[in-house]
C-alpha cells in the first residue's frame, strides 16, 4: 500500500478543508462509548481527537476558548446522560456552564454549531460515532474558524 508521509499535514495540493475537532470525553461514559465505537469498528472522521477528562464537569470553559484560540474549528464536550454521571451531579454543572459559554460565544459571533454538548453513555458506541460524523460534517460545512483563532499561536 503506498503511504503518504505522515509528517506532512495532508496529502494533495488542493487539499479539501479538514477541520480540527477537539472532543472532551468524560472517563466513565463517553470515553467508554468512544472505546465501544472502536471495539464495534464504527468509523467516524479522523479529524476528531479525544481528550480524556474524569468528568464532563472537569472541562473549564477556558479549555474550549483555548482550543479555538489555537485554531480548533469545533469543540464537542461529551458526558454521561443527566442522572448517570459517575459523580452524580457533574454533568448538571456542565450543562449550566456550557449554556453560559455558548451564549457568550454567540455574543462574540461564533457560530453556535461549532460547539456542542452531547450525552453519550458507555453503551452508546453507535451514538458516539454517529454524533462525531454529524459534528464533523457540520463544522466542515461552516468552514474554518477565523474569528477566534489567535494568529500569534499559529505555526
Amino acid at each position: 500500500m503506498p503511504m503518504n508521509s505522515p509528517e506532512k499535514n495532508g496529502v494533495g495540493k488542493e487539499e479539501a478543508f479538514r477541520p480540527k475537532i477537539v472532543a472532551f470525553c468524560c472517563n466513565w461514559c463517553s470515553y467508554a462509548g468512544a472505546d465501544l465505537a472502536g471495539t464495534s469498528r464504527l468509523s467516524y472522521p479522523a479529524e476528531v481527537k479525544i481528550i480524556r477528562v474524569p468528568c464532563s464537569c472537569r472541562v473549564n470553559p477556558t479549555f474550549i476558548l483555548r482550543a479555538f484560540g489555537r485554531g480548533a474549528d469545533g469543540v464537542i464536550l461529551c458526558g454521561c446522560h443527566p442522572g448517570d454521571c459517575h459523580y452524580t451531579t457533574g454533568n448538571y454543572y456542565t450543562r449550566r456552564r456550557m449554556t453560559l459559554l455558548f451564549s457568550m460565544l454567540d455574543y462574540l459571533g461564533i457560530e453556535r454549531e461549532r460547539t456542542r454538548v452531547e450525552w453519550v453513555s458507555a453503551a452508546e458506541g453507535a451514538k458516539f460515532a454517529e454524533t462525531m460524523r454529524d459534528f464533523v460534517a457540520t463544522v466542515t460545512a461552516l468552514g474554518k474558524n477565523r474569528r477566534l483563532e489567535d494568529l500569534r499561536c499559529r505555526n
Partner: protein, 663 residues
C-alpha cells in the same frame, strides 16, 4: 529536561494493520524531550514490558508514553511495570491509538497522522505529570447482595461461608426468584424446589446472612470499600418478628379474588398471602391493593385470627442505613410482555400460555396440582404446540435482537416431560433452529426427538387462531418440506424472550454501574472480568448480566462471591491519587468549591500567612480531604481564582493536550 520514553504497540495487526507504527515511533522520537521511541508487537506482553522497564532503567526516563489500546484496558499494567522499575506510576500516560484510531479508520495515512497527534498530546501531558502517591481507605467487611434469586442466594452463601457478613435485599416477599417457580430443570430433570429450597433455608439459618425481603435499595453513596446504602423496607402490614407463618390468615381472608402473582395469575389467592409453602422468610404479607381493611377500613379478619398478634395495619415503610464494602447486583430477568404479539392470540385465548406459565401448570405445587390441564376448560390437552424465539433474535423492533439462550433447552424439557407423563399427547416444536451448546445439552435435545418422539419442525408459526369449539388453529411454515402447515392444537406454549428486571435500570443509576442497550449490566471486561461491573466494588451475578441457565448462573454467582471475598479480605484499599488540591496562596476562601463538591470533601481552615511589614494575616482557605475526594474536578472549574486544580488532570496538562492537538 525530563527524559521521555515513547513505546508504540502493534497489537499484532490490530494497530499495525492500519497505522504505520514505525513511522509513529520515528516522528515522536524527534520531539524535544523524547529520549527513546520504539515500537513492538505486543507492549503488554512480558517481553514488551521488559523493553519498557529496561529503557526506564538504562535511559533514566522521567516519563513514559505508551501508544496502544485504551487506557481503560492496560493503563494499570503499564503503571505497574513503571513502578517495578522505581518510576512513579503516575508518570505513565497512554495514547489510545487502537479503539480511537486504528479500529475506526481505514486510511493508513490518516490513521498514522492521527496516531502521531495523539502521541504528541500524551507526551505534552506526561511532561506536566507529577509523581503521585495513592492514599488508603479502610474496607467495611460486609457485603450487600441485591436480588434473592438463585444467583443472589449462591453469592450470599459463598461469601458467608468465607466468614463475612452479607445482607440480601429482595423486593418480593420471599427469596427464590424464578427458579422457585420452575417445575423440573434441564439437563438432569431434577425438581427445582428440591435443589433450591434447601439453599433458601440455609440462607435463613446462616448467622452471617440477613435477609431483607420485601425491600428495595433506595440510595447509594460512597465508593468501593465504603458504600453507604439506604434500604427501604416496604410495609407488609405484618410484624416479621411475630409472624410464625402458620398460614391461618391466608385461609380466612375473605378477599379471594386476587390474581396469584406467584402462579402468574393462573389462579387466585387472598389479599394476605405467603407466596408458596417453602417461602423464606415464611411470613405473610398483605397486598395493599386488595386488602379491604387497608382500602376502606372494613374487615380486620386477619388480625382477629392471628394468634401471634402479628398483623399491623398501621405499619409504614421504614428506611435503614447500612455500610458495605462491596455490592453485588443479582436482579435477574423476566419474560417479556407478549401484548404486542397478537398473532399468537396470547391474551385472546387462555390456552395460549408462556413457558413460565407452563412451568406452573406442570408443577405439583401449582394451580393444577401438577396435572397438565387446559386453563380454559380444565381438560387434558392432546396436541401441544411450542413456538420458540417469541421476541428473541427479532429484528423487527417488537422484540429483542439477542438470543435468550435458555428457551431451546427448557422447551426440549417441557416437550419431554409432557411426552413422558402423557404419551397420548402429540408435541410439536417450531424453531428457527435449535441451539444446544452446553454440557449434555445436545444429548438432552436428541433424547427429546429420538426417545420421546417430539416433532421438531424448522419454521415459524405465523398465526394462532382461537376457534369457536375451543381449539386453536396454528398456521405455520415447514421450511424443510417447504410447505404451509395447519394444525389443530389444544394448548400453545410461547417461549417468550427474556429481558432484565425493569428495576435494574434505576438501580444501575444508583450504583453508577453501566448497562448495555438491552439494560443488562455490563461487565468490566467481556472476557477477562465477567463478574465485575466497571464501577469498582460493584459485582454482577446471574441473569442480570445476560440470559443464563441455572448452572451458568451458579457458576457466575460463585465467581462474584470470590471477587467480593477478595475485596473484603483486604484491610485497606489504595485510593485514587488523582484528587483535587488547592493552592493556599491563591485561595480567597469564597466557598464556591465547597458548594459544588458532591462528596463534602472540601472544608475551610483559618491559616496564618505572612503579611507586609512583618505582620501576620489570618485567612480562610480551602483544604481537600484526599480520602473523600473522588476526583471529578467540579471544584476546579467553580474556583474563580484558579486555586483549585486536579492531580493527574491539571489545568496545565489539559491545556497542553489541547495545544498539541490543535497545532
Amino acid at each position: 529536561m525530563q527524559k521521555i520514553g515513547v513505546f508504540v504497540c502493534h497489537c499484532g495487526t490490530n494497530i499495525a494493520g492500519t497505522v504505520d507504527v514505525a513511522a509513529v515511533a520515528e516522528a515522536l522520537g524527534k520531539l524535544p524531550g523524547v529520549a527513546v521511541a520504539a515500537d513492538y508487537p505486543y507492549m503488554c506482553s512480558e517481553s514488551g514490558q521488559k523493553m519498557i522497564r529496561d529503557a526506564i532503567r538504562e535511559k533514566e526516563l522521567g516519563g513514559v508514553v505508551i501508544c496502544s489500546c485504551s487506557p481503560r484496558m492496560h493503563e494499570a499494567t503499564f503503571r505497574k511495570a513503571a513502578a517495578a522499575e522505581g518510576l512513579n506510576p503516575y508518570l505513565v500516560e497512554i495514547a489510545n491509538i487502537r479503539e480511537q484510531d486504528s479500529w475506526i479508520h481505514r486510511d493508513r495515512a490518516e490513521a498514522t497522522e492521527k496516531a502521531i497527534v495523539l502521541g504528541k498530546a500524551a507526551i505534552e501531558k506526561v511532561k506536566r505529570n507529577a509523581p503521585l502517591t495513592a492514599g488508603e481507605s479502610p474496607v467495611v467487611k460486609r457485603a450487600l447482595v441485591i436480588g434473592g434469586g438463585i444467583a443472589g442466594i449462591q453469592t450470599a452463601l459463598d461469601i458467608a461461608e468465607a466468614g463475612f457478613p452479607v445482607d440480601i435485599v429482595e423486593k418480593e416477599p420471599t427469596i427464590g426468584g424464578k427458579m422457585a417457580q420452575l417445575d423440573k430443570t434441564f439437563p438432569t430433570l431434577d425438581c427445582a424446589a428440591c435443589i433450591l429450597t434447601p439453599k433458601m433455608v440455609e440462607c435463613a439459618q446462616n448467622e452471617k446472612i440477613r435477609i431483607f425481603s420485601y425491600s428495595e435499595v433506595s440510595k447509594v453513596s460512597g465508593f468501593v470499600g465504603n458504600f453507604r446504602v439506604t434500604i427501604r423496607r416496604k410495609a407488609r402490614y405484618v410484624d416479621e418478628t411475630k409472624c410464625t407463618g402458620c398460614g391461618e390468615c391466608t385461609e380466612k381472608c375473605p378477599q379471594k379474588k386476587v390474581p396469584n402473582s406467584f402462579n402468574l395469575g393462573l389462579d387466585n389467592r387472598r389479599a394476605i398471602y405467603i407466596p408458596f409453602a417453602q417461602a423464606v422468610p415464611k411470613v405473610a404479607t398483605i397486598d395493599a391493593d386488595w386488602c379491604n381493611m387497608l382500602k376502606n377500613g372494613k374487615c380486620g379478619v386477619c388480625a382477629k385470627v392471628c394468634g401471634a398478634g402479628a398483623i399491623d395495619y398501621k405499619q409504614k415503610d421504614t428506611f435503614i442505613e447500612e455500610e458495605y464494602g462491596a455490592i453485588v447486583a443479582a436482579t435477574g430477568f423476566r419474560p417479556i410482555s407478549l401484548s404486542r404479539y397478537e398473532e399468537y392470540a396470547y391474551g385472546l385465548s387462555r390456552d395460549v400460555v408462556t413457558s413460565l406459565e407452563l412451568e406452573r401448570l406442570m408443577n405439583a405445587a401449582g394451580p393444577t396440582g401438577g396435572t397438565l390441564l387446559r386453563p380454559s376448560d380444565g381438560k387434558h390437552p392432546h396436541t401441544v404446540v411450542f413456538v420458540q424465539c417469541v421476541g428473541s433474535r427479532c429484528e423487527d423492533g417488537k422484540g429483542k435482537s439477542y438470543c435468550s439462550k435458555i428457551c431451546c433447552m427448557y422447551t426440549a424439557k417441557h416437550a419431554m416431560l409432557i411426552r413422558e407423563k402423557y404419551p397420548d399427547t402429540e408435541v410439536y416444536v417450531f424453531t428457527i433452529d435449535v441451539r444446544t451448546p452446553g454440557k449434555n445439552f445436545d444429548e438432552f435435545y436428541r433424547r427429546a426427538v429420538e426417545e420421546y418422539g417430539v416433532h421438531y419442525i424448522k419454521g415459524m408459526v405465523g398465526k394462532v387462531l382461537p376457534e369457536p369449539d375451543g381449539s386453536l388453529t396454528v398456521r405455520a411454515s415447514d421450511l424443510i418440506a417447504n410447505e404451509q402447515l395447519k394444525l389443530s392444537a389444544d394448548l400453545v406454549v410461547l417461549a417468550a424472550a427474556v429481558e432484565p428486571d425493569p428495576s435494574a435500570r434505576p438501580l444501575a443509576t444508583l450504583l453508577t454501574a453501566s448497562m448495555d442497550t438491552n439494560d443488562f449490566f455490563t461487565e468490566a471486561h467481556p472476557k477477562l472480568r465477567p463478574v465485575e461491573s466497571p464501577t469498582a466494588g460493584v459485582f454482577l451475578s446471574g441473569a442480570c448480566q445476560g440470559p443464563k441457565d441455572i448452572p451458568e448462573t451458579v457458576a457466575q454467582a460463585g465467581a462474584a462471591a470470590a471477587k467480593v471475598i477478595g475485596l473484603l479480605a483486604k484491610d485497606k484499599l489504595v485510593g485514587n491519587p488523582c484528587v483535587a488540591h488547592s493552592d493556599e496562596m491563591l485561595c480567597n476562601g469564597c466557598s464556591s468549591c465547597e458548594k459544588v463538591c458532591p462528596y463534602g470533601a472540601i472544608h475551610y481552615e483559618e491559616k496564618e500567612f505572612r503579611g507586609p511589614n512583618r505582620t501576620v494575616l489570618k485567612r480562610r482557605v480551602a483544604a481537600v480531604n484526599a480520602a473523600v475526594c473522588q476526583g471529578c474536578g467540579a471544584c476546579t472549574v467553580a474556583c474563580p481564582s484558579g486555586a483549585m486544580d486536579l492531580h493527574g488532570f491539571s489545568n496545565s496538562q489539559i491545556m497542553a493536550e489541547v495545544d498539541a492537538i490543535c497545532r
